[in-house]
């Protein structure tokens, strides 16, 4: 009886994340997808649904033949969307690399710090989360604008004579994204480095590897899972980022999040913006699923 109870319990525990995924991912995704198949209308909400609960199951099947993918075709016709997707991927990619270049040494330093100091350092990494994300981005405006703190400082010490124009350029955009997502890069890398058995490094040195060589042959390969996790945690939200390009980026900054916002709010074209969102999701989810499958297989093979 007890066995049956615990079996039931372990099943329930497994079900919880699936239920979560169903209600907070699949159902909303389906709603968005449904909107992307509809046509725009001057109404509240501003679209004509293609099917609804009132149709019943037979009505739903009947309407499947009438579905049209005009909104998706439209995305391929206007170069704006493709450019926005590519530009977003590029900006997110560059930001991820920058965050890795800064985040890895930070994580490494934290993992090598005296044990007693580590909780404090960890706290310092997490500390910015205690302030609103929006306020922190606004703070960057104050720092980067022509009469802002950075320019005042640089002119004060005489490095430059005229203020640098950083705000409303891609520079500001990169600074904003790297700053905002850096903790997501640092934390997973730190957690893999911190677990690393130090005797492996000693063994490498003992076998003739100088410290730099030991790092590249032992430490780095063993921290790859953390690097991959960190890169995904930075890259995925950065692709769809809207607030940072809107506040720090310039008028020429093209990102899909901003395009989506324009379609949704300025044009009130819910069907097209829903199509944009659907494609964005596919662009992100499909490669990740492939990647994780490949990784699981590699792990299986290694076992």
């Amino acid at each position: 009886m007890r066995n049956l109870g615990s079996a039931l319990f372990s099943r329930l525990v497994i079900i919880v994340p699936y239920v979560w995924l169903l209600f907070f991912f699949l159902v909303p995704f389906f709603i968005v997808f449904r909107i992307s198949l509809s046509t725009m209308a001057i109404a509240q909400p501003p679209y004509v649904p293609v099917f609804g609960f009132a149709d019943g199951l037979s009505g739903f099947i009947g309407k499947l033949g009438e579905l049209h993918f005009d909104n998706f075709l439209w995305l391929t016709e206007d170069a704006l969307y493709i450019n926005a997707y590519l530009s977003s991927l590029w900006i997110a990619g560059v930001s991820t690399i920058l965050a890795l270049l800064i985040g890895y040494p930070v994580a490494y330093g934290m993992a090598k710090a005296p044990r007693a100091l580590r909780p404090t350092l960890l706290m310092l990494v997490i500390l910015p989360f205690w302030t609103s994300f929006l306020i922190r981005v606004y703070a960057w405006i104050a720092i980067l604008k022509p009469e802002g703190l950075l320019n005042q400082f640089l002119m004060g010490i005489g490095v430059i004579n005229d203020p640098l124009i950083i705000i409303n350029t891609n520079w500001a955009l990169y600074i904003g994204i790297v700053y905002s997502y850096l903790p997501f890069m640092v934390l997973p890398i730190y957690s893999t480095l911190e677990k690393l058995d130090h005797s492996l490094i000693e063994a490498a040195q003992d076998l003739g590897a100088p410290p730099v060589s030991a790092f590249w042959k032992i430490t780095f390969p063993l921290s790859v899972p953390g690097v991959v996790a960190g890169c995904m945690l930075v890259f995925i939200p950065a692709v769809g980022e809207f607030v940072i390009p809107d506040l720090l980026g310039g008028s020429q900054t093209l990102m899909i999040g901003k395009t989506l916002w324009n379609e949704f709010n300025a044009n009130r074209d819910w069907p097209v913006s829903a199509a944009v969102a659907t494609i964005l999701l596919l662009i992100l989810v499909v490669p990740i699923v492939f990647f994780q499958n490949a990784q699981a297989k590699a792990e299986e093979k290694g076992r």
């Binding site: 492996l200 063994a203 490498a204 040195q205 003992d206 003739g208 100088p210």
Partner: protein, 380 residues
């Protein structure tokens, strides 16, 4: 000097005053904060020696090994390896390799690349690496596991990979940190002999750190018994066992009875002690302290005789007691004999015959006796 026990082979460079030590620790001290791990230690290790550092955890033996590997720097003193002071040489340039207690196998590399790691670091040509790796795999009998990752191996197999990896570069000295600690008893016994054969075959100097006295006794040519950062005694296993120089060593290695006494007469290599346990001890081995000094007399259980009949000279090297406990171990029987003053002596007797008529039983009055050369007088 008379030989104590059986020596494994006629290899004893430490008795030759002209022999140059291969490794020398000279007045080496290592402190961590206000903790002294190694205290002004001087020690010589000879070429092709199998040398064991034996002691309880925290006695400084691992620190000594890590200083030899280069992971710790001595606070003062010098370490000389093959005529060269190695204090300033980083671990990756020392002609010394170490087998780690945790094995420290690289989890992301196959057995093959683990073994070849050091060779690749040295820039050895690929074909030669392959050849050497194959040779090492054969040496540790792991040929069919070359492509496996460490987590696909058993504990014993991992231990052999670690051994092969540390031997692949043909180091001048192989350091082994508790090499058999993680193996089960049967595998440990087998591996002990394998290590000894390997060391003979390769003609290398092995320095092994262990807390297991049996392991040290079996494998080593000489043992350094350490305590609190100091070497208490350096000697062959037989000398350590049969002629411990101090209470600590006598007690640390094997079972021992220590009888207390005061020196009443000495001369001609003999010492007479007025024992505190109701007997006079006449001993012909060990230290010769001055008259009046209180000291201990150490005697191993197997060197005591247990008999019902009183010996010819009762009271001298013989004492009466009562059988308190009998432990039958198959090959031998251990008797705990309680003396009149309450002290319990351990005596073990070999069961050379299957059947004994009228064996000694509990609560019986018996005589415990020993020869003049059976035990040693200790320094203190």
């Amino acid at each position: 000097m008379k030989s104590l026990g059986n020596t494994r082979r006629s290899f004893a460079p430490w008795t030759d005053p002209d022999a140059t030590p291969f490794i020398t620790f000279r007045n080496v001290t290592k402190t961590f904060g206000d903790f002294t791990a190694v205290d002004n230690l001087t020690l010589d290790i000879y070429h092709r020696e199998f040398f064991a550092l034996l002691g309880a955890s925290g006695c400084g033996k691992s620190t000594l090994l890590r200083m030899l590997a280069g992971f710790e720097k001595p606070t003062s003193g010098e370490i000389i390896l093959d005529g060269q002071n190695i204090a300033g040489i980083p671990p990756y340039r020392r002609p010394v390799n170490m087998m780690f207690q945790s094995y420290a196998l690289f989890p992301h590399m196959t057995v093959e690349s683990n073994i070849g790691f050091g060779l690749r670091q040295d820039g050895m040509p690929k074909s030669q690496i392959a050849e050497r790796v194959a040779q090492m795999l054969k040496l540790v009998k792991l040929e069919q596991f070359a492509k496996r990752k460490p987590h696909q191996l058993s504990g014993g197999q991992r231990q052999r990979v670690a051994l092969a990896r540390s031997l692949a570069k043909r180091p001048k000295v192989l350091l082994l940190d508790e090499p058999l600690g993680a193996l089960d008893k049967k595998l440990r016994e087998e591996t002990q002999f394998e290590l000894m054969d390997l060391q003979q075959e390769l003609g290398l100097t092995f320095v092994v750190v262990t807390h297991d006295q049996e392991e040290a006794m079996t494998m080593a040519d000489r043992i350094a018994v350490m305590s609190h950062g100091e070497v208490i005694q350096v000697a062959t296993p037989a000398e350590i066992y049969e002629a411990p120089n101090s209470r600590f060593v006598a007690d640390f290695i094997g079972d021992v009875n220590i009888l207390e006494g005061k020196v009443t007469a000495s001369g001609n290599g003999r010492v007479e002690l007025a024992g505190a346990d109701g007997l006079t001890i006449r001993a012909a081995s060990g230290e010769i302290p001055a008259n009046g000094v209180s000291t201990g007399f150490a005697i191993r259980p197997e060197k005591l005789r247990v008999d019902r009949a009183a010996p010819a000279d009762p009271g001298v090297n013989a004492v009466e007691g009562e059988v308190w406990d009998i432990g039958y171990l198959g090959d031998m029987t251990v008797f705990h004999i309680r003396l009149a003053n309450g002290k319990v002596l351990k005596a073990s007797m070999l069961n050379a015959r299957r059947e004994v008529e009228d064996p000694i039983v509990y609560d019986e009055k018996v005589w415990v006796s020993f020869d003049e050369t059976a035990g040693v007088v200790l320094r203190d």
